[in-house]
Symmetry: C4
Subunit: 199 residues, 4 copies
């Protein structure tokens, strides 16, 4: 058993890099084009930047929060976290694809499904992290955390189905999905989500 310090440092690094690489997905308009018009035409890239930034941000906050009650690690648990991070680090790719498809109008629904599938993958891995940590109960978790544990379990029960629903909203309109992803990220940061109150 080892402390979770380096696992958290590593995860923070991947979160921080993935979130900062998002800006590379915004294309620089050609230096001879009218700047205002070019930026307006690129609106999907800015919207996608904001939505993905908020989403990775709130996922970092949740991961952070989860590790206030997980205190120990082992090789298997570290590798589950690596797979979780594999989905997080992947986010810049569907973000760029989605932004470009909203711009071109070709397969925008498919791009939203790709984006949503990545989010569902992250939510599933969050559950995997939590289940493994709970199963090794008394080993990986903080002792005095029965209350916190229930709050976490409650939150995770809804993560996957909600991400699936938001993703499927793309069949109505991809923008609806994007708004949904942003709104769900914002929700987690609000006191009504219980996250701030209890943390």
């Amino acid at each position: 058993m080892t402390e979770t310090g380096r696992l958290e440092t590593f995860a923070d690094g991947v979160f921080a890099i993935a979130i900062t690489l998002l800006v590379l997905g915004i294309r620089t308009p050609s230096p001879s084009d009218d700047l205002g018009k070019a930026l307006l035409d690129q609106w999907p890239e800015f919207v996608a930047y904001i939505v993905s930034f908020l989403t990775i941000g709130i996922m970092w906050v949740q991961h952070h929060r989860l590790f206030t009650i997980i205190r120990r690690s082992n090789a298997t648990f570290a590798m589950i976290n690596v797979i979780f991070l594999m989905f997080v680090a992947f986010v810049p790719f569907p973000t760029v694809v989605l932004a470009q498809r909203l711009g071109s109008g070709v397969d925008a629904v498919g791009a939203t499904l790709l984006y949503g599938a990545t989010m569902v993958g992250i939510a599933l891995m969050f559950n995997a992290i939590w289940r493994y940590a709970s199963a090794w109960d008394g080993h990986l978790l903080e002792r005095q955390s029965v209350e916190d544990r229930r709050a976490v379990a409650r939150g995770y029960r809804y993560g996957v189905p909600i991400y699936v629903l938001i993703t499927l909203a793309a069949f109505v309109n991809p923008i609806l999905s994007l708004v949904g992803f942003a709104a769900f990220a914002a929700y987690w940061a609000l006191p009504i989500s219980g996250a701030s109150r209890e943390s």
Copy 2:
């Protein structure tokens, strides 16, 4: 309530990555061109690199300093910091746009406004961080920091209007704005700003 350790690690990561990605905005001159001439022609890219590096640098110093008196966090506060970092991580984009527009001469004023708007956004988010932390007073802040708190509040009163003024100087000359951004960054590092003396 949780410690601010991981929040600071994450913020440091985003600051460090955004500042280091700036170098990717400097184009490699074609290997068959005269090197000296090519580098001289690229002067706006080097100037923009220096100004943005110093600006992100001093913002990191100020964030660092702020967190010597903020001691606790919660989910909402973490998310406010994520939005702050969304502006910081965005800086490489307006930096490249500004550098290229100073080179081409097309819409250089507009590019400076985009750059300045990003800086104003960062200054506004600094205020948001500070106000939220103050409002939760006694919860998020260090106890013995009345002195420090006044110094912080004093500094923040001028941040937004000064960045707005420097940005508007672009209508006179974009270079004037650039000099202004660099000078303002340098000012914060000087003992006369009160920052070194008090920190």
Copy 3:
């Protein structure tokens, strides 16, 4: 003699960045192409992303684990770690080359050898780190770690030859090598490897 804290932070940073840069190797399909078809055609890029992510991930886990029994550092030891990280940070290059060659079918075996050679290099440097730390025994290592030391030595005895074998499997089929690299990464995370039990 200094503590290993900053060495671990630096190594974690390089691991985290190298692993997150892998996503930049996945090309964005042209916005006017059929998305589903384009993504299917890019399968080698996704497979290479997964294999390299898992491999860098498990190497981070192993490095992490190694430093639970290495407690002190010096300039030479730090530089050995820098050379180790030079191989780790190189991984995105052979990953992209391999993905593109599996796609084009030109020199796919050669690309797998380049990829495998990088892995063998990492395994060799792991041995170098361990040997230097053992040689300075009593200086760099934790005292109560005779048990752990034997486990580490046992694991490292097989690392290099196994990576050589997996690499040579490319002469049969490059895909066989890829599966081998993924399987070897997964093996280290399993309890049967002894890694979880003992850590």
Copy 4:
């Protein structure tokens, strides 16, 4: 006065990112070209990668070592470190330029001077960091470090002139400079440099 913890974390981040971005300077050979021939033609990119990696690596080791005797910071000192990091983060640019010029043969001497000037800049900033920390003596430094202080001062006396000499060797042959930079990096890691013995 504040602790140097976050300054070191931030510096480690910039070092780690700059060193890991070096791999992006190695071009992926066209997927339809003969792989072996393409890689051989790219030898300057691999050499430049190795030299820059070792150089940034040893500079990180030295920075690390320096901060074992610097214990406190202030805003001005943090900004001096930011300017130091501005040179470190710049290294990927002259590295790519040098690699491409060694390949094309056009202005290879000029590219080596650009590369060397960056190294001289880093060495000068190392002196600036040390002088500022010494001037604030008793404030920024560890108390019991008279011995260490003399060792540091001794090492820094030669850094700038040696980097200037290695740079000027480009007028004889750019490769001679490259070998010089790599050798100087290796020297710092050797016990004979006094670095390992004393640290």
